[in-house]
């Protein structure tokens, strides 16, 4: 337990000090950390799922508070919470199924009967909960026989039942933990492979001799374009350099390395070039529940230009960037103001920041925001690892990945 706490603290510090940045890295680290939190969690006899959820929530709250700008951390915490709920339900379901099967068989009649009321209660709760859940999982639980079981009066509860129940619970708990860890492993794998899964769809979207425009550098965009090139599509890419970090220069180098025709333009030339462009493909920092996008600064301008010329505006992102929150939520800190030194050279401007004159208040203020918010109406298509989606479809994806109980991780645990 203490070593897990140390891991958590270490990760919190790293997030606080911005040593881990970028949604991919922070998502992966978060998932790994939560996996070890869960594997070290000692399981109690009752309500293991609840215990796990509490533990994850406690850690998750710290992680989210450490760097509220990095929305992927919160996303992964909520995904893990969802996984726990899911596994809890399905293990309950399988237990009930097992019960249904064993009821038909002949062995150990007595124990079965005594076990029944507890399980049926769980099944009832599960059934009640399942009404809140996405219909896609309804099918899984469709054939629960629990509803047919009649609850036994409590007077029939004996001593022997306690033992067998605890043994069964123990088994179940170990299984629950095991299942959850398995599911988290899958999640980590998903995060790792999201680029490949997104770029698999590249050929469907990029056609021969098209002109594609992008801004800055996003790994997903790069993989997407390269995948199309590998499938022998020939196309041309305009790269807006993405001031002030000029990541576009890096992207241009990488694309040329792959043999893609590349043109570098300044950010301010986007509007002039957009009429020759067939499609805009950009990466994102986060996709909000309403289909809005938090993306590197400058992309809103590109989106507006694309809308003006009716050029499709496509956002590629792994599903870990899908955030179940709305941009108007107060806890969503949408922007991060970076150091002005990216924009201006301190030495050259130091005389403008002489606080000794001008009555002590600086006349020069340099603002360097990291992100833009692109409203959903400007986005034509999202390409995630599960396929292409409309902005208005985002809420459905979110319902698949997250459970409504977890949207506010913070308030629940503080109250």
């Amino acid at each position: 337990m203490p070593d897990v706490q140390a891991l958590v603290n270490d990760f919190v510090l790293k997030l606080k000090r911005r040593k881990i940045e970028g949604s991919h890295a922070s998502a992966r680290h978060t998932a790994e950390l939560l996996r070890s939190v869960i594997s070290h969690q000692r399981m109690r006899q009752t309500n293991q799922a609840g215990a796990l959820i509490d533990a994850v929530k406690a850690v998750g709250e710290q992680l989210i508070a450490a760097n509220p700008v990095e929305l992927a951390v919160g996303n992964i915490v909520r995904r893990v919470l969802h996984i726990i709920r899911e596994e809890d339900l399905s293990s309950t379901a399988t237990a009930i199924e097992g019960l249904g099967l064993s009821a038909g068989s002949d062995d150990d009649d007595e124990g079965q009967y005594e076990d029944r009321p507890a399980l049926s209660a769980a099944a009832l709760a599960a059934a009640a909960r399942s009404t809140l859940r996405a219909p896609s999982l309804q099918t899984l639980l469709g054939d629960i026989p629990g509803s047919a079981v009649t609850p036994q009066p409590p007077s029939s509860w004996g001593d022997s039942e306690g033992k067998s129940k605890s043994a069964d619970k123990n088994l179940r708990s170990r299984k629950l933990k095991h299942d959850v860890i398995e599911a988290i492993n899958e999640l980590i794998q998903d995060i790792d492979t999201c680029h490949e899964q997104v770029s698999e769809q590249a050929v469907e979207h990029i056609h021969q001799n098209e002109v594609i425009l992008t801004l800055g550098r996003s790994r997903t965009v790069k993989e997407f374009l390269c995948a199309a090139k590998e499938k022998n599509r020939s196309f041309r890419v305009f790269v807006a350099e993405g001031a002030p970090r000029y990541q576009g220069h890096v992207l241009a180098k990488e694309l040329v390395g792959k043999g893609i025709q590349t043109t570098v333009i300044t950010d301010s030339a986007v509007f002039a070039m957009i009429s020759r462009v067939n499609m805009v493909i950009v990466g994102a920092h986060a996709i909000m529940a309403n289909g809005g996008v938090v993306a590197p600064v400058g992309i809103n301008m590109v989106a507006l230009a694309a809308q003006r010329h009716a050029v499709p505006f496509v956002v590629v992102a792994g599903s870990h960037k899908l955030c179940p929150l709305y941009p108007h939520n107060s806890e969503v800190l949408l922007n991060d103001l970076k150091s002005p030194s990216d924009l201006v050279d301190f030495g050259e401007f130091s005389d403008c920041m002489d606080f000794g004159s001008h009555g002590g208040s600086p006349l020069l203020h340099v603002v360097n925001p990291a992100f833009d918010y692109v409203p959903p109406k400007l986005v034509s298509l999202f390409i995630t690892d599960t396929g292409g989606h409309n902005p208005s479809y985002m809420y459905r994806l979110i319902a698949d990945y997250y459970s409504a109980d977890d949207l506010v991780v913070k308030q629940r645990s503080t109250s």
């Binding site: 000090r17 911005r18 800190l333 970076k338 030194s341 050279d345 005389d351 000794g356």
Partner: protein
């Protein structure tokens, strides 16, 4: 990103260095200066909050981010407080690659002593980062370290790499933004070797003097006056032994760096590393405290900004538009306004119609109604009652300002001071609960006063507290310190007297912006200088070279200009001993030896001696000009012989006259109305010959109107002299 890389590179094993020494750092948790008095009497400078986090946190966080594995915090003044803080802080608890270890050395009174103490502890094994505990930076040391190591491999004499940054000095005041003096450095552009370092450039001299050997040995060198010294040094272990060998090295720059540069016997070299995009600065005085706070609020020090919670301890801040930082639990009235570039800490209450702009407000403060706070720094748990006005003030923890108090620009209120109702604290005052230590001790470079040091007698305000019913009019028991009562009824605190320099120096280092009239003054003088330099076709660099090529003796020459004031003081001291009854011959001997050691001429001696005599005359109590004249006459009669000893030629006599004139204009204006009378006296006592006086008058013929006041005043006397001489001729 850069920081991340830095960390990785240091944690990964270097295959080429099997016996890898962890990167170490020495953090001096003491500034060895008195610039932050009176605050530093109660709390060490490194623990003073800078934008609501102690300064030392910024430095430690930076050291950690650049991959330092062991940091030794050298605690001198208030060592217990520093240690207690470190023990409670996250830095000691944190496991992993960054270890903080406090080292106590109470008797160190300078950076030199501190480094000698470190040497004695014997903890430094390899190259180390030497930094003061008041440094704010986000630079990556990777490159600088790499350069340093490579140079060391080639040349074991390269003992130090100094981090510098471009920063233009203010064209008007010849100061950097941080309130330091302009620094002049000569750097070899190819090797980046530092060849010359001067941080106390005399602005009255428009040229500098370089050793001509410097030009002979290096093909090219760049002279910079736009570089800021970040006070971040990468040192080799030899630096510590150098400090131990040269026990008189006290100051890192003034003694050590300059010492190494001048000393060619050992041949140690210092190199520079310039940073461009990252930030580094040191808090040296109140002005730099203000400037760096504003830089942090403007996010130059990113990621060390309030909303990033770089240090785990501080509460989460939220950044609004226009650089307004607010903690989650601020109780702000609807009508209160928080303007641009302000920060309000957790648990602070702000009353109706109050206005805050360009200020930092700590935690748990209570601010009343109609309060206006501008450009001020208010620390934790301060109570400000209704209708107060604060502009460019620094208010420490637990201060209580009662209703209607006005703090004028540059006021410093130390811990727990209380100010009574409707009191106006005048500009640049410093108020503390502790009385001001006596003068002698304050020149010492100590951060805190010894318990047994002298204390200026001043009426305690507590006495006024006890007698609350007393009329608010100050009870001027002591004329000199009557201003103490300005803290008011029910106020507690002593107002400190400004130091020798008075307001002259105070405004340079204060939080308040430079007053408009000062800027105007500088503007005018800068223009005057411009004209001069236009006439002088060779502008600054060229004249510098010329100076070197001529027969001047390099550094000694430069020192002369600085030392002339010292010389004057020494002569005066000697003269005072003469007053106390030392034999006149001995006095002459002493002055002669002083003359030789300071490389002065006879004329300088005469001038200084005359100055001292006049001062002593002035020191006698006098009620009117007549008495003063009498005193002066007596004094001159008494010391005539001594003075005569130096007045061998007419030049010296003229020097004395000029000196006298200067005194009347500047230092001792009391003599001004008596000029011609005293001149007459000097003539009668045969101290000045008539030739000297006449040639002085002739010299003044062509001067400005303002210069001729005294010639005019003594017109009658001069006329008489001329007539007398003509008579003789006939």
């Amino acid at each position: 990103m850069a920081q991340k890389k830095g960390l990785r590179s240091s944690s990964s094993d270097d295959p080429e260095e099997l016996a890898r020494v962890p990167l170490q750092a020495v953090l001096l948790a003491d500034s060895f200066a008195t610039k932050f008095r009176p605050i530093t009497l109660e709390r060490p400078k490194v623990l003073l909050p800078l934008v609501n986090a102690p300064m030392i946190d910024y430095t430690l966080a930076w050291l950690e981010s650049v991959g330092v594995e062991e940091a030794f915090v050298l605690c001198c003044a208030h060592s217990q407080q520093v240690k207690d803080y470190l023990n409670k802080s996250q830095w000691m608890k944190q496991q992993g690659t960054f270890a903080v270890q406090p080292i106590e050395s109470r008797d160190s009174i300078s950076a030199g002593d501190a480094l000698r103490a470190i040497y004695n502890f014997g903890v430094i094994r390899g190259d180390f980062v030497l930094v003061s505990g008041d440094t704010v930076s986000n630079m990556s040391l990777k490159e600088a370290l790499q350069e340093h190591k490579e140079r060391r491999k080639k040349d074991p004499l390269a003992v130090m790499t100094m981090v510098i940054k471009q920063s233009k000095p203010s064209s008007l005041t010849h100061q950097t933004r941080l309130g330091n003096d302009e620094i002049l450095m000569a750097i070899d552009p190819d090797t980046k070797e530092l060849l010359y370092y001067e941080d106390k450039t005399d602005q009255s001299q428009r040229f500098i003097t370089l050793d001509k050997m410097l030009l002979a040995n290096t093909p090219t060198l760049h002279l910079h006056n736009d570089k800021q010294d970040c006070y971040i040094d990468i040192c080799s272990p030899e630096v510590l032994s150098l400090f131990t060998d040269n026990f008189d090295y006290q100051h890192l720059r003034r003694h050590f760096v300059k010492g190494l540069l001048v000393d060619d016997l050992m041949g140690y070299k210092i190199f520079t590393h310039e940073i461009h995009s990252s930030y580094a600065a040191r808090i040296d005085n109140f002005r730099s405290y203000d400037t760096i706070s504003k830089d942090i609020i403007q996010r130059w020090a990113y990621p060390m900004v309030p909303d990033v919670q770089y240090f785990g301890s501080c509460s989460q801040m939220k950044l609004d538009r226009l650089g307004i930082y607010k903690a989650p639990e601020v109780n702000q009235s609807r009508t209160a306004q928080i303007r641009a570039f302000s920060l309000v800490g957790n648990g602070t209450t702000i009353g109706d119609h109050s206005e805050i702009s360009n200020s930092v407000i700590g935690q748990g403060c209570t601010i009343g109604r109609n309060v206006s706070i501008q450009g001020s720094y208010i620390w934790d748990n301060v109570i400000i009652e209704d209708d107060c006005k604060l502009s460019h003030a620094l208010v420490c923890d637990g201060v209580h300002l009662r209703a209607g108090v006005v703090l004028e620009p540059g006021v410093i209120l130390s811990f727990k001071v209380e100010v009574g109702q409707k009191i106006v604290i005048p500009a640049y005052s410093k108020v503390s609960l502790l009385p001001q230590p006596s003068k002698q001790d304050s020149d010492e470079e100590l951060e805190y006063a010894d318990a047994n040091s002298g204390v200026v007698e001043s009426p305690s305000i507590t006495s006024i507290v006890n007698t609350r019913n007393v009329d608010p009019v100050p009870d001027s028991s002591d004329a000199e310190h009557s201003d103490t009562s300005e803290v008011g009824i029910s106020g507690v605190g002593y107002i400190w007297l400004t130091s020798e320099g008075g307001h002259e120096e105070e405004w340079r280092h204060s939080i308040a912006p430079i007053p408009a009239e000062k800027l105007m003054e500088f503007f005018l003088s800068a223009h005057a200088d411009l004209e001069v330099s236009n006439q002088d076709v060779n502008s600054l660099p060229a004249s510098g070279e010329l100076q070197v090529d001529s027969e001047s003796t390099g550094f000694d020459d430069g020192e002369d200009y600085r030392d002339s004031a010292d010389f004057e003081k020494e002569v005066e001291a000697t003269f005072h001993r003469a007053l106390a009854g030392v034999n006149q011959d001995n006095v002459i001997l002493e002055i002669n030896s002083l003359r030789l050691s300071y490389n002065m001429s006879h004329a300088d001696c005469a001038g200084s001696l005359f100055y001292s005599i006049m001062r002593s005359a002035l020191a006698f109590p006098h009620s009117c000009n007549r008495e003063l004249l009498l005193n002066t006459g007596k004094e001159l009669g008494r010391w005539k012989d001594l003075l005569k000893h130096y007045l061998k030629t007419i030049d010296e006599e003229i020097e004395v006259l000029l000196k006298f004139e200067e005194m009347c204009l500047e230092t001792a204006k009391e003599f001004a109305p008596l000029f011609s009378a005293i001149l007459n006296h000097l003539y009668e006592k045969d101290i000045l010959s008539e030739d000297a006086i006449l040639s002085w008058a002739e010299e003044k013929e062509g001067a400005d109107e303002s210069d001729k006041i005294f010639v005019k005043q003594s017109e009658q006397f001069l006329k008489w002299l001329r007539e007398a001489s003509e008579d003789e001729d006939e």
